[in-house]
């Protein structure tokens, strides 16, 4: 056997996938022979087994499990020479790596790739909807477009990109040399391209891609063509990745904080990811189970959702939303963390009401588990569940409101540096409030009876996930770009990106409130004449949003290749990740720093957060009083 096939890598992974395919054929034919089915070769069954097994063969071939196999067998493990740690060239990013910084960049770049794919699908959706009647695609393809659009952007963009950003900065922030389980971290990353590729490949499945929405309600999903299983199984891989990362974050945060870093000295981004990870570990298994049910119903003739045999159709929605409502917070809480970091640094003020900020995160986690059925007000479930869910849903706006007001108070009387990250943060504040307000409206059952499953919902979810989550993602990417790449981004292009996005985003999604209340249902390839003019406006604005993302892509690529070198602490931040070089050294710290104060003590004379070997790290000569033009902060 050639050496390349024995060593972990892409050659072995490819060969291994062929082997996996052969295994799927063998297992399917063998099982059918034993159970006496005819014919022996069944394409769907082979495909189903292949969807589950080939990814594992791929991961084994790539070497994601090599170390564990050796360790479990008791064979001498490769001594810790850190050969798989840190990137040596751009090629290192295409192999499993144990460095959380490499993994963070892998995560962010991969999820942005999926963002562009999902965005492209959105452009196709809007092209189809630009006028009533059929434009470019038939209704099956259309249903596939919005289903894959939502699934990619939720499971492979928003959730993992936050995990990626946190992967990069969180260990640095708490003064840890790496995550608690670096190999598990590498595996979590490599599950993502697997899941994403699977969802994209569904377009080539016989019968077309999955077309039942990202919610994949039974009984539509367990009678849909084979493409559905690319979602059903793909979500399992994305979910496993989520759970593994969350577990890793929790253990890292609990066991690896620098000396002196008590829970109430942690930056709020760490708090946010702590809360998010709790949600993921507890809730994500439910979406896995809901898809197991669908898979069992489809492949082995189970009757979970067959009412004729005693199954319960609504059970799917209860199980699904028990995950997918907390998932909304999984997609928002890390953004809250990013916003807290940026607002404090860019306003040069401590975060207002730090403890309340931390407690409100935990309150959202707890309340988040008690509101799932507000997605089911018109589902035909037991009517008595509705009112308690309305109350809890409304109450969850209270901790969210605390956060909004505290951020406003953080800005007030500060010294605001209105650069790109700050603009996106302020854009987030205003847009997320709109999304939150329509959310409170949707808690009110009588109104929801009218507007559920309309474009009002589409508007609401995009104000929360685009105006909310995506704005914080952009803010975070710009904010940590110097740290991650060692280069500065182009400020002019960044501001251009913000204003284009802000304007076109509103032009796209604000009118959807109107057509929704007027009675346009969502997920339709065709609509009544009365909605035609608004839809044309929306489509044109959507293309503008699409173009604005190209500005972002150009800025990122060009600045990464040839932007000016970044200082170690260009924002004069106090938190630990800015106290090391940009990008940080391979093991983050020469020695673990000691934390001696809060993370946001801006404006407090002589305040320090972390100390390296006895020398305090201050955020440059920051102070109160008349302005002078002091030199750049010392690194």
């Amino acid at each position: 056997m050639p050496v390349t096939l024995r060593q972990p890598g892409w050659s072995r992974a490819s060969a291994s996938m062929v082997l996996g395919l052969a295994f799927s054929y063998a297992l399917s034919i063998g099982a059918r022979a034993i159970l006496g089915y005819d014919p022996l070769l069944d394409g769907e069954s082979v495909m189903r087994i292949a969807l589950i097994s080939v990814p594992f063969f791929f991961l084994v071939g790539l070497g994601c499990f090599s170390y564990w196999f050796r360790w479990a067998s008791g064979a001498p493990t490769v001594p810790e020479d850190h050969s798989g740690h840190g990137a040596k060239s751009w090629k290192s990013y295409f192999y499993p790596n144990t460095d959380h910084k490499v993994i963070g960049i892998q995560y962010v770049v991969t999820s942005f790739f999926f963002m562009f794919v999902g965005g492209l699908l959105a452009m196709l959706i809007r092209a189809e909807l630009a006028a009533p009647g059929r434009q470019f695609v038939d209704s099956n393809a259309y249903n596939g477009l919005f289903s894959v659009h939502a699934s990619l952007l939720i499971f492979l963009f928003i959730i993992p990109v936050f995990a990626g950003l946190a992967n990069y900065v969180l260990p640095l922030m708490i003064g840890a040399p790496d995550m608690a389980f670096p190999r598990l971290n590498a595996l979590s990353y490599w599950l993502l391209p697997v899941a994403g590729t699977m969802m994209m490949l569904s377009f080539f499945a016989p019968g077309g891609s999955f077309a039942t929405g990202w919610t994949a309600y039974a009984t539509l999903s367990n009678t849909a063509p084979l493409g559905q299983e690319f979602f059903t199984i793909g979500v399992q891989f994305a979910g496993a990745s989520s759970i593994a990362t969350a577990l890793n974050f929790l253990v890292t945060i609990i066991t690896m904080r620098a000396p002196g870093m008590s829970f109430f000295r942690m930056p709020l981004l760490v708090w946010a990811n702590f809360s998010t990870s709790l949600l993921v570990v507890i809730a994500t298994p439910f979406v896995a189970a809901s898809q197991f049910f669908v898979l069992l119903d489809r492949s082995l003739g189970f009757n979970f959702f067959d009412h004729g045999q005693g199954g319960d159709v609504l059970m799917y929605q209860h199980v699904f939303w028990f995950y997918s409502h907390p998932a909304v917070y999984i997609m928002m809480l890390p953004g809250f963390g990013i916003v807290s970091e940026i607002l404090a640094v860019k306003s040069r003020k401590p975060v207002f009401g730090y403890r309340m900020m931390a407690f409100s995160l935990l309150a959202i986690v707890a309340l988040g588990f008690t509101v799932w059925a507000h997605h089911m007000f018109v589902s035909g479930m037991q009517t008595w569940i509705r009112v308690p869910m309305m109350v809890t849903t409304a109450i969850i706006a209270v901790p969210t409101g605390i956060k909004i007001f505290s951020w406003l108070a953080t800005m007030w009387k500060g010294v605001l540096k209105l650069d790109t990250p700050m603009l996106f943060t302020m854009g987030f504040l205003t847009m997320f409030v709109l999304g939150g307000i329509s959310g409170v409206m949707l808690a009110m059952i009588p109104l929801t009876i009218h507007v559920s499953d309309t474009y009002f919902i589409v508007a609401h979810i995009h104000y929360v996930l685009f105006g909310g989550s995506l704005f914080t993602i952009f803010a975070g990417v710009y904010f940590w770009f110097p740290k991650m790449t060692g280069r500065m981004y182009d400020e002019k292009l960044g501001k251009l990106h913000f204003w284009l996005t802000f304007i076109f985003f509103n032009a796209t999604f604000a009118p959807m409130h109107v057509i929704g209340v007027q009675g346009m249902p969502r997920r339709v390839a065709d609509y009544a004449e009365q909605f035609a003019s608004w839809n044309l406006v929306i489509s044109l604005a959507a293309f503008g949003t699409g173009i604005s993302s190209l500005v972002f892509a150009y800025n990122m690529v060009a600045s990464w290749r040839g932007g000016p070198r970044a200082e170690s602490n260009p924002w004069r931040s106090l938190t630990l990740e800015w106290q090391v070089s940009s990008p940080p050294p391979i093991f983050n710290f020469d020695e673990i720093p000691t934390v001696v104060g809060g993370p946001y003590e801006y404006g407090v004379p002589g305040a320090v957060h972390g100390v390296f070997g006895g020398s305090p790290t201050t955020a440059g000569p920051g102070r109160r009083g008349p302005a002078t033009t002091a030199g750049a902060p010392s690194a």
Partner: protein
């Protein structure tokens, strides 16, 4: 691109390894990780129990389905078999800590055998139970929950198999027996979960 090439700066000195991470908690990271993983596992079971709840309680379906019978007694004996495997595993774990190699080997071997027996009895039950998951929702729930648990037993057995072979090859010692501890926690979890499954499916 050059993301990991440290720039000339205050911290750019030669490294040969990471600095030792600070231990901010007395809890062992591996143990904590395993516990969190088990919380996740419990939630998977919880979702399947939700299906059970909706189909049996909310849907008011007969339990077990009309004309079928669950072998409570056989499954009860099987429960005893699985529970005793937890005891023998504990014996093996205590033995290795005391340096008793015979106890380790015998304990692991018995544990493995008991676990495999449980799985065989379960498969035998499937063959003779007289209904399939395709017959009715009760069957789906029965096969769903016991099958989910069986899959966990199977994975647990794979882990225990490796541990057993290793203990016969002379691996593990008084000082280093983590390779036995971590699968052990998992196996105990699988056993405890079975008590819940057995109670809800067979007894109530």
């Amino acid at each position: 691109m050059d993301a990991a090439v440290p720039l000339a700066g205050a911290h750019d000195t030669h490294h040969h390894g990471p600095p030792e991470a600070n231990r901010s908690s007395r809890v062992d990271p591996q143990l904590l990780g395993m516990l969190l993983f088990i919380i996740s596992e419990i939630m998977v079971f919880a979702a399947f129990f939700t299906a059970y709840f909706f189909i049996r309680i909310v849907g008011e379906n007969e339990w077990p389905a009309r004309g079928t019978e669950l072998p409570v007694l056989v499954a009860g004996v099987n429960t005893a078999i699985l529970l005793s495997s937890s005891l023998t595993l504990h014996w093996a774990q205590t033995s290795v800590k005391n340096g008793n190699r015979f106890g380790l080997k015998a304990g692991m071997f018995t544990t493995f055998l008991l676990g495999a027996t449980f799985l065989l009895v379960q498969v035998n039950e499937y063959v003779h139970i007289g209904f399939s998951p395709a017959d009715h929702a009760q069957g789906s729930v029965f096969y769903g929950l016991t099958g989910l648990h069986g899959a966990h037993v199977f994975i647990g057995l794979l882990l225990l198999g490796v541990v057993t072979v290793r203990s016969f090859r002379g691996h593990f010692s008084k000082e280093e027996h983590r390779g036995l501890e971590i699968p052990g926690i998992y196996w105990h979890f699988v056993d405890v979960m079975w008590i819940v499954v057995y109670t809800t499916i067979y007894i109530i």
